[in-house]
């Protein structure tokens, strides 16, 4: 009996959210091996061996009529029906899932019924996939890995203790200087690498600093990027000399951009800069007047990274 050792009532919240968010169509196998009416049980037996599968849907077009399981094959062998047509010996009393159901449904179905697989139908009752416990556990493991990674990052990055003297690097950035754009962020990246900061953290700092740099190049009259390296975090600040952002709330919206055509043709001005910075920062702030805009992004190190950089 195959069951999935996750239940739908008292699992951790992260898991519950996961099994309600994921739909059957996200986990099911779409590549189907099926047979039409009139196929012999023998042919299905060969097909199973050839494809290493244990259940074959019997269809007429996209309509599901039944399933031939390994059990049906054994029965047919036992009773000498193996050369007969599938419609005589397939399982017709089927329990099906709908592709839009949450995975939690599939899990409780596997607990409740003895089947090893459920056919999946869409709204129009067409057969679109098949789902096994293996499909579900594989996808769940994958998602859980991802969630744990996120939790790890958050837990470790919120601890703060007071620190020592800080290195400070400062880079001046010119208006429309696409030629040297990326220099500040490359230097910041190098510096963090020397301090043995984790690649994931470096990536966040690189994204924040590059977007800040590009904002100065694209939108401002020129300015400066400063990076302060503390024992627990790097603080990246961008200051420019105007002309300021008229509507900060709008500027924080994904996809909103004031960039002109030629800047867009270079691949900038997608309206993702500030939202990207905010999403990679542990702390983010922005103030703007016509005299200038100041954006601060703080990227914290995890506990392990702090230990490593303290050894320097």
């Amino acid at each position: 009996m195959q069951t999935i050792p996750i239940n739908t009532y008292n699992s951790p919240t992260v898991i519950l959210e996961l099994i309600y968010r994921l739909k059957v169509k996200d986990v099911m196998t779409r590549k189907l091996v099926s047979v039409p009416l009139g196929t012999t049980m023998r042919a299905v037996q060969h097909l199973m061996r050839e494809k290493s599968i244990t259940g074959v849907p019997v269809v007429s077009g996209t309509r599901l009529l039944g399933i031939v399981s390994m059990d049906d094959i054994i029965q047919a062998l036992d009773f000498g029906h193996i050369e007969e047509s599938v419609e005589l010996h397939m399982t017709k009393n089927l329990i099906v899932l709908e592709d839009d159901m949450p995975v939690s449904f599939a899990i409780s179905y596997f607990d409740r019924y003895r089947f090893h697989r459920f056919p999946v139908l869409n709204k129009d009752k067409e057969l679109v996939g098949i789902v096994t416990t293996r499909d579900i556990s594989t996808r769940l493991l994958w998602e859980i890995n991802h969630e744990v990674e996120n939790l790890e990052r958050m837990n470790l990055s919120t601890k703060v203790t007071d620190g020592l003297a800080r290195d400070v690097q400062s880079f001046s950035i010119l208006k429309h200087d696409f030629e040297n754009a990326g220099f500040a962020s490359t230097e910041i990246k190098k510096k963090l690498k020397q301090r043995d900061v984790f690649p994931r953290t470096i990536r966040r700092a690189a994204i924040a600093s590059y977007e800040l740099e590009m904002n100065i190049v694209v939108h401002s009259n020129g300015g400066r990027i400063t990076a302060e390296y503390g024992p627990e975090e790097v603080v990246i600040t961008s200051e420019d000399t105007g002309p300021g952002i008229t509507d900060i709330d709008k500027a924080m919206e994904e996809g909103y951009s004031t960039a002109n055509e030629w800047i867009r043709s270079l691949g900038f001005g997608a309206g993702m800069g500030l939202p990207n910075i905010r999403s990679v920062s542990d702390e983010f702030s922005i103030t703007s007047t016509p005299q200038g805009t100041v954006v601060t992004s703080i990227i914290r190190f995890s506990e392990l990274e702090r230990k490593r950089s303290a050894k320097e």
Binding site: E179, T186, R203, A270
Partner: protein
């Protein structure tokens, strides 16, 4: 996973820069908006794009994109090639559209 020189030869893509032919490509990302690429592309990716200028290399090296495929017959600027050699980011070129390049490359990454 596919090695970059293998990708180039199997798909018949032109090599503009390849400081390290042993680079392994595990993922891909297709896009021309560099901020979108920055925010979403995975490490060890190949970037499929039409942005044939130096800033693309900067974005790539910052977030760990290992190779850039320039589509629709676009050719890199001289300073882009220089930057790519410095940063060990490969640049390939093709007449394929981004759609075609994406599925062909996806097939290679998946198949090996």
């Amino acid at each position: 996973m596919v090695q970059i020189n293998e990708l180039a030869s199997k798909l018949g893509y032109e090599v503009h820069a390849m400081a390290n032919p042993a680079i392994q490509i595990a993922h891909g990302y297709t896009g021309d908006l560099l901020s979108d690429v920055m925010g979403n592309a995975s490490e060890d990716s190949v970037l499929i794009t039409i942005q044939a200028h130096k800033n693309t290399v900067a974005v790539a090296s910052l977030i760990g994109i290992r190779a850039i495929v320039l589509c629709n017959g676009r050719t890199p600027t001289e300073d882009m090639i220089q930057a790519a050699n410095q940063e060990s980011v490969a640049i390939l070129g093709t007449d394929d559209t981004q759609f075609t390049a994406s599925w062909r490359i996806a097939h290679l990454i998946g198949a090996s």
